[in-house]
């Protein structure tokens, strides 16, 4: 990876140019779609931390987006400012994530997946049934977009840049987190728990920490989703959304830092690009997902590694033949 730094830098430069300049040439829908994609990238960054780095199979990630979105929406409806509501929502997600982390200590692999699906369903049921607070199946409508230092973010383009700023900030924080001793502990946990413990990683604390941090990031995504769509309802945060997020992490490359961005492209932008196929587009989408799963089980970002391995194997074979 060391030799690839200039390559990564130029890629980064191109990416930031696209993200900053492209929306200026798009109409409302394009800007909205890019905002929507970024929010899912953000949620996926959180799940990547839980699933990709700490190896915890969580299928309840959308619940945390929902919890934050509802907290922000309900507080804003009572007249509380977004800038007060959002931090509270994120902290709440961190706390709930910490609590949910406890069962994660007891159950592993698919048992954890089932437990988190259950958690997600419970949360969705609360959104649906506590009609007095959450509006039930009719949801909460007309959620205002915030303003920053008196500057309104109500416009699609303004709000897009705001989301971009948050995503880049959270992305950078995560980048440093996974390279810090914490991040190393996460991956150690994923790769071999017993060995990790033998070198002094406190499994319990790091499992909880990974879960809570990932959940808090999902919370940030939820805080942005509510004012973006300006409407929330329970089905937006059901276990199907969690499965989509999981799919995005796996397809992008779980445990790869850039995985969420690619995963988000596949999960959110792909179906839109495939719309020319009319009634067939979801079928195409499904086929592409299956193809990717079969050909690249470790995600898109494992492609360079596979190519390198093949090249190395070929060279080795050639060397042996000589």
């Amino acid at each position: 990876m060391k030799t690839k730094l200039p390559f990564m830098m130029s890629l980064f430069a191109i990416a930031s140019f696209v993200m900053l300049v492209l929306p200026l040439f798009l109409k409302n829908y394009g800007v909205y779609l890019m905002s929507y994609w970024l929010i899912f990238v953000l949620a996926t960054i959180g799940l990547n931390l839980i699933l990709g780095y700490a190896g915890l199979k969580s299928l309840g990630h959308a619940a945390f987006m929902g919890i934050a979105a509802y907290i922000v929406a309900m507080m804003m409806k009572t007249g509380i400012d977004f800038w007060v509501a959002a931090p509270i929502a994120v902290i709440a997600c961190f706390a709930i994530g910490w609590i949910i982390g406890y069962p994660a200590l007891r159950v592993q692999m698919h048992y954890l997946a089932f437990a988190t699906i259950g958690f997600n369903e419970v949360v969705a049921l609360i959104f649906r049934n506590e009609e007095h607070y959450t509006g039930g199946t009719f949801g909460i409508n007309n959620i205002a977009r915030p303003s920053l230092f008196g500057y309104s973010l109500a416009g699609n383009l303004e709000f897009y840049y705001f989301i971009l700023f948050i995503v880049v900030t959270v992305g950078l924080l995560t980048y440093f987190l996974v390279r810090s001793p914490w991040g190393k502990a996460f991956t150690a946990l994923r790769d071999n728990q017993i060995r990790a413990e033998s070198v002094g990683v406190n499994i319990q604390r790091y499992t909880l920490l990974a879960f809570a941090t990932g959940s808090a990031i999902a919370g940030v995504a939820g805080c942005l989703l509510a004012p973006l769509v300006q409407y929330i309802e329970p089905t937006q945060f059901n276990s199907q959304t969690s499965i989509l997020l999981y799919l995005m992490v796996v397809l992008g490359g779980s445990g790869y830092f850039w995985g969420p961005i690619l995963g988000g492209i596949i999960g959110v932008l792909f179906p839109e690009w495939l719309r020319f196929a009319e009634g067939w587009y979801m079928l195409f989408f499904g086929l592409i997902v299956i193809l990717l799963m079969v050909k690249l089980p470790n995600g898109l970002l494992s492609l360079p590694e596979i190519i390198n391995q093949r090249k190395a194997a070929k060279e080795k074979a050639a060397a042996q033949a000589r």
């Binding site: 829908y29 779609l33 929507y36």
Partner: protein, 381 residues
């Protein structure tokens, strides 16, 4: 649609963009073609498409053909919002759908901002309560339909007491609440209020409770399959007083499932392909020929919606969104002038509609109309 047709459609779409936009009027339907709302969304879309096809085969609207775009919201409000912006970016004249109330809540604020008329399929009362001048309904709301059932129970059957069986979800609970409110001021008393679950199989205890309440009639408000199960159980327990519902109780699917047990059940139906009306019968035949199944109320909603828009545009005489939306409020469209609306129809100042509806009773495995409810606007005339 097969691959060749698909390629054809793509080629056609490409070609269409080349043709000058002057000759067409762009419309869009944003409907649930995948996800939870697939059934409702697809039939609504079929209805819309059939109307567009007919209009394009004829003279179009004021001489212009319709250029229709159909997009799938995946039953997701977040996507519905984006798609509404997309079609508004493409400068459509009007939007049809979505059908699900949640998605309508977001799409209609976008269409209001852009001042684009929006014909929705949802039944929730909240949609038109917000005073959005660009949203128009294609169906009755529960708040319109259920008071007619109450009137029927109180006036026609003259029941002194009634038992209520409802389904505990947004559909059933919503209907029950309207029923309770409407019956409050009448001489009929509710003697049992029985909750059931969606997908409930065993109705024996619910039916027993209704029986023991000794009510003169039972109001049943559950979805189709549950209706069939309830009717079967009532027959099994030998109940012989009137069983009354709204739309779902006497649907064709219920009759098929319940068989004999459905006989005698009475329901108010707003839109039914079985209505005693030549226009609707003809529509049913056309639809069945085109798509191979009997149109339900959603298919009628989509179909009539397009013709309502046509009538409004023709009334204004030009393609002006604001003027058309204004003209829609208080409009009366007679089926003899605009056969596509199927029934005489009127819209009030909120965008809610009014038209004829029926009471039907199942006799020998078929719906028979036993009473016709005249719309308020004709009786006022």
């Amino acid at each position: 649609m097969n691959i060749r047709k698909l390629i054809g459609a793509v080629a056609l779409a490409v070609a269409a963009t080349g043709v000058s936009a002057q000759q067409t009027v762009k419309l869009a339907s944003l409907v649930e073609l995948s996800g939870a709302g697939t059934t409702a969304g697809t039939t609504f879309r079929n209805g819309v498409d059939l109307a567009v096809k007919e209009i394009n085969a004829g003279k179009g609207i004021l001489g212009r053909k319709i250029d229709m775009t159909t997009l799938d919201t995946q039953s997701n409000p977040g996507i519905a919002k984006g798609l509404t912006q997309k079609v508004i970016d493409q400068d459509v004249f009007a939007i049809f759908g979505p059908v699900f109330s949640g998605s309508i809540m977001v799409s209609m604020s976008e269409s209001q901002r852009a001042e684009v008329p929006n014909f929705t399929g949802g039944e929730a009362a909240a949609i038109t309560k917000q005073g959005n001048p660009y949203v128009f309904r294609t169906s009755f709301t529960q708040a319109d339909a259920i008071p007619k059932v109450v009137k029927y129970i109180n006036n026609t059957i003259k029941a002194k007491t009634v038992a209520v069986i409802y389904q505990n979800n947004d559909f059933g609970k919503g209907g029950r609440d309207v029923f309770m409110k409407a019956i409050e001021g009448t001489s009929t008393k509710v003697v049992a209020d029985i909750s059931t679950e969606q997908a409930q199989v065993d109705f024996s205890s619910a039916v027993l409770k209704a029986k023991q309440s000794n009510a003169d009639a039972v109001f049943i408000y559950v979805t189709e399959e549950e209706s069939a199960r309830a009717l079967k159980e009532f027959k099994k327990q030998g109940f012989n007083k009137p069983l009354i519902g709204e739309t779902t109780l006497t649907g064709q699917k219920v009759i098929d499932l319940a068989g004999d047990a459905a006989n005698g059940a009475i329901a108010h139906v707003g839109l039914t392909a079985d209505a005693p009306n030549a226009n609707i019968r003809a529509y049913k035949a056309k639809f069945q020929k085109e798509y191979g199944f009997v149109p339900d109320h959603n298919a009628i909603k989509g179909y009539t919606g397009v013709y309502v828009l046509k009538a409004a545009i023709e009334k204004v005489g030009k393609f002006d969104r604001k003027e058309v939306a204004k003209a829609m409020h208080g409009i009366k469209i007679l089926a003899k002038d605009q056969p596509g609306v199927l029934l005489d129809i009127a819209f009030d100042d909120k965008g809610d509609l009014d038209r004829e509806s029926y009471f039907v009773q199942v006799k020998n495995g078929k719906q028979e109309v036993i009473q016709t409810f005249q719309p308020a606007f004709t009786s006022k005339k």
